[in-house]
Symmetry: C2
Subunit: 351 residues, 2 copies
DNA sequence: ATGAAAGCGCTAACAG
DNA sequence: CTGTTAGCGCTTTCAT
């Protein structure tokens, strides 16, 4: 939404930094030559170029990236939109994306939209024209909004599948299978799933995967479901209150935060992990090795998601400038990234 | 530094989104009228404005924020530069800044510069012309680089004092005093300080404050110093190896991460917290209540730092457009924000 | 190898 | 109230 902008009585808003014209005048050359001296070094006499760069440096000239981006579309900027920077889930995604961007000479801008679809839309609207590519991590925007964005800049979505937009998702089913195998190997026969938010796509995937895993070995494993709960420590704590140990000795939580809260809730009730119940989390976020007992968890390929998102964007960006149009679009198939089970101290053989 | 840009064979880089001219033509009005319909609703006939906005919406027109920012300087964007988004220290700073920015109608862009001064410089160079204000959280840039930035956009630095640039810092001395009082009240008489990186400004402040606090009560408290250590869990773990309980029963760590690592190191050696030694952290980061025992810590006004940084920026931005120039600069005095001691389970009365 | 000129998309003075 | 004009700072043809 375009809120009416305030009046701006003083047009000379920012103090003057030297422009390309200032440098040109100081060097006695045309502005275009200065421009070339920076961006097309080959096309200007070496000696002149050198002189220009020196005086430019002396004057403290810095090309205005905004003005440069307007005609060219090149800002060397990438945006990563996350629902909540302080959710450790995003840590490694950010780290991975950051690193991939940096090593390709790009700067990654992270926009935190505090779980608000509206904030997300305005963040995207405000930044999309500034960046060369856009990665949406667990976006809340509508499919159509995403498509609109994808039409303007190379876009990739994480942890969501969308027919027309390249997407990267965690292999939830595979992860659940790993967890089930682990618990079964430990002798557990009933597994309780602590459900996350109903609206969550990942929650659905994980629960269905668990059901399927159970079907495949009908005689050995039974599953039940508790929830939904908020995907937070508080949610897990609540879950612990309604948990009855009689119904089984193994739990898989929707995510690590819930698992940690759940263990804390159990502790308060005098139930001991892993002696009385084994707990498996999901994602392997920062903090899952801080809690006690340290959490056994299905590690999501978080970092990989981040790097790969950026690499997809870079590929798309490069193909835009070299290829013959939108033909060379990246694969629209969602890529499934594998999980890895991290066994720590919250799981143990069934009594 | 300006790396030579690659050639760009295809000038029509991005697919066409409707421009203001398209809307103008479709409505049979001048482009300036369309512009006004959006940014100066009062100055165009209500009926015309309505019609324009409708067709614009129908065409999917979105003003290009980049093109708008070039002549006006208004992008509704603020940048927050942090050394490492995944360091929980920055969580509440980001949250606070985010929230203040959002409620003022701005979008906050977070740039993670992974502890690299060079990456920080290029991030600042690339974004400064796009944003209306810049907050540097624990920057590694040189004072002169900071000043250069501050000359171009309202700038505020966090946790660093710089004569000419507005700055916000945690009241380290006050925090240390609170910790000392707490430990003394519990009967501890010797306090060991686990030092952080020598280059850290905050580390110096904290250690000196501790020395001073000890001087003020010469007969009751003695302090000693161990370190420097890396300000991480690993650093704390290392510290635990060289720690001798004989030398006292109370420890104040440079920060929470170190404190947590330290406790973990002690545990491995069979030393129990808080029975054998009381540990106080600093900052109250996310995770300080996840570890066990939960950490007693000096809570830094993290969130407050974030909101205040943004508020300072907004004030400066507003005064730029209304006032008579750089006279109405914000106070150059660094503002000291108070800490709050959070007593949890890692401290107990001296044996 | 360099200069001149046109324009990226939008806004803001200046006329009417 | 609305159209016309002139840029914001930079890049990129097109000339020379």
């Amino acid at each position: 939404m375009d809120a009416p902008l305030p009046e701006l009585p003083d047009p000379s808003s920012w103090p003057d930094v030297p422009t390309i014209y200032d440098v040109a005048k100081a060097c006695g050359v045309a502005p275009s030559t200065v421009s070339r001296a920076f961006s097309r070094p080959g096309r200007v006499k070496a000696e002149t170029a050198e002189r220009i760069r020196e005086t430019a440096a002396a004057m403290g000239y810095q090309a205005n990236p905004l003005a440069r981006a307007l005609p060219t579309g090149r800002s060397s900027l990438l945006a990563l939109v996350v629902a909540d920077v302080t959710n450790p889930f995003f840590f490694d995604i950010i780290r991975g994306a950051e690193q991939a961007a940096t090593s390709a000479g790009y700067t990654l801008l992270v926009a935190d939209v505090h779980e608000s679809a509206e904030a997300e839309r305005t963040a995207v609207d405000r930044t999309i024209s500034l960046v060369e590519g856009l990665a949406l991590a667990t976006t809340r925007m509508s499919n159509s909004s995403i498509r609109v964005a994808a039409k303007q800049r190379p876009t990739v979505v994480l942890n969501r599948v969308l027919p027309d937009v390249p997407s990267l998702v965690t292999d939830n089913a595979g992860g659940i299978e790993q967890a089930v195998e682990h618990l079964v190997a430990l002798g557990h026969r009933t597994i309780t799933y602590l459900a996350g938010p109903e609206a969550s796509w990942a929650d659905g995937m994980r629960w269905r995967a668990l059901l399927k895993a159970a079907e495949q070995q009908t005689d050995t494993v039974r599953v039940r479901r508790l929830g939904p709960f908020s995907p937070t420590q508080a949610g897990g704590f609540t879950a612990a209150e309604s948990y009855t140990t009689s119904a089984g000795s193994a739990v898989i939580a929707y995510n690590d935060l819930m698992a940690i809260g759940f263990m804390r809730g159990l502790a308060r009730r005098g139930v001991e992990v892993p002696r009385d119940v084994s707990v498996v989390g999901f994602d392997n976020i920062f903090g899952s090795d801080l809690c006690s007992p340290q959490l056994t968890t299905v590690g999501s390929p978080l970092r990989h998601l981040g790097t790969m998102a950026v690499e997809l964007l870079l590929t798309a960006i490069r193909s835009r400038s070299t290829d013959t149009g939108p033909a060379a679009a990246p694969p629209a198939r969602p890529s499934l990234l594998p999980t890895q089970l991290i066994v720590r101290a919250s799981t143990a053989p069934a009594a």
